[in-house]
């Protein structure tokens, strides 16, 4: 598990970190879609993702993080949150042969065969409403 996790995490850090990124960090923090990502990387609860809290969090530092490192952190946090919290995950290009997401994921993972999964008739672990 550790090796898999590290392999996954190292990819964006290794390849995206040094690309140029000029937008000021404040622009990212203000964006609606990144409010939850910033709250996540600053280890705040989702309910307290206020601008003042974010600023207070960084005010302890002598230097704020750079825009590019904040963008990278938000990117990683956003993907993790998207995958682990949201219900649906799909590869557009494989949509045609995909009746349900978990059979597709299971097929990719080779955990069980597609037929076995269909017998279970459970399309998605996260179908919760």
């Amino acid at each position: 598990m550790r090796a898999k996790w590290n392999e996954i995490i190292e990819k964006p850090i290794g390849t995206l970190r040094f690309e140029s990124y000029e937008t000021p960090a404040t622009d990212i923090r203000d964006e609606r879609h990144f409010a939850s990502a910033v709250a996540t990387v600053t280890a705040m609860s989702q309910s307290s993702s206020q601008q003042a809290d974010v600023d207070g969090c960084f005010s302890k530092l002598s230097n704020s993080p750079t825009e590019r490192s904040l963008a990278l952190a938000c990117f990683v946090a956003h993907v993790l949150r998207w995958v682990f919290v949201s219900s649906f995950h799909v590869n557009d290009s494989e949509r045609d042969d995909m009746n349900n997401i978990y059979s597709w994921v299971a097929k990719m993972c080779k955990y069980i065969t597609h037929e076995e999964m269909m017998k279970l008739t459970i399309p998605n672990a996260a179908f919760r409403w």
């Binding site: 990124y21 960084f58 490192s69 993790l80 799909v90 279970l120 008739t121 179908f127 919760r128």
Partner: protein
């Protein structure tokens, strides 16, 4: 009981062929489009999300496969971020050089500037799945494991706040800065 009812409702809904064949792919495609849309708007990284060194879709699939493994694991996993300003603790954090290429100097205290990647922590959940990993051959068990709600982000949990060192699987990756010798409560206390 709630979980059983939830499972039954899910099973019933999934047996609806129209739902399975049309609504699921549409909902999935919509959510996927929303995801890409968000990044197209906010990250200059956008144009770099699919190049030789990094393929966004391929990477997303790896994260999804990991999710599936975590769902059926006998461990209850948590993803723990580190708040900026926290004292650097090498027992559960790894420092990466920032743009200036800094490296840790011995006998100097550091604090976290930013958590780039969270720690992964896993503890045995004695109340469920304690007999071992969920078997993919035991369909009922596998089904229930996939349907179980697991709160994987640590900040959502108030009752359990154990140290990430307990059950640490992988360290958090952080950017750090040196704590000034003449400033900061932590530095003075040494």
């Amino acid at each position: 009981m709630v979980r059983t009812l939830d499972t039954l409702a899910t099973v019933r809904m999934s047996q609806n062929s129209h739902f399975r064949e049309f609504e699921v792919p549409n909902l999935a495609a919509k959510q996927s489009a929303d995801f890409y849309g968000e990044f197209a708007n906010y990250l200059p990284l956008n144009q770099l999300l699919d190049h030789d060194g990094f393929k966004l879709k391929g990477w997303l699939h790896e994260v999804m496969r990991l999710k599936l493994e975590l769902l059926v694991s006998r461990y209850h996993h948590r993803i723990e971020f580190v708040r900026p300003g926290t004292m650097f603790d090498s027992s559960w954090m790894t420092e990466i050089p920032d743009e200036e290429g800094s490296a840790l100097i011995p006998d100097t205290q550091y604090r976290v500037r930013l958590c780039v990647s969270p720690a992964l922590v896993g503890r045995i959940d004695d109340t469920k799945w304690s007999q071992g990993p969920v078997s993919t051959h035991e369909s009922e068990e596998y089904k229930l494991a996939l349907l179980e709600s697991r709160d994987i982000f640590a900040e959502n949990s108030v009752q359990e706040k154990a140290s990430p060192r307990d059950g640490l699987i992988s360290r958090a990756v952080v950017l750090v800065e040196a704590v000034p010798k003449d400033g900061g409560m932590e530095a003075r206390s040494q």
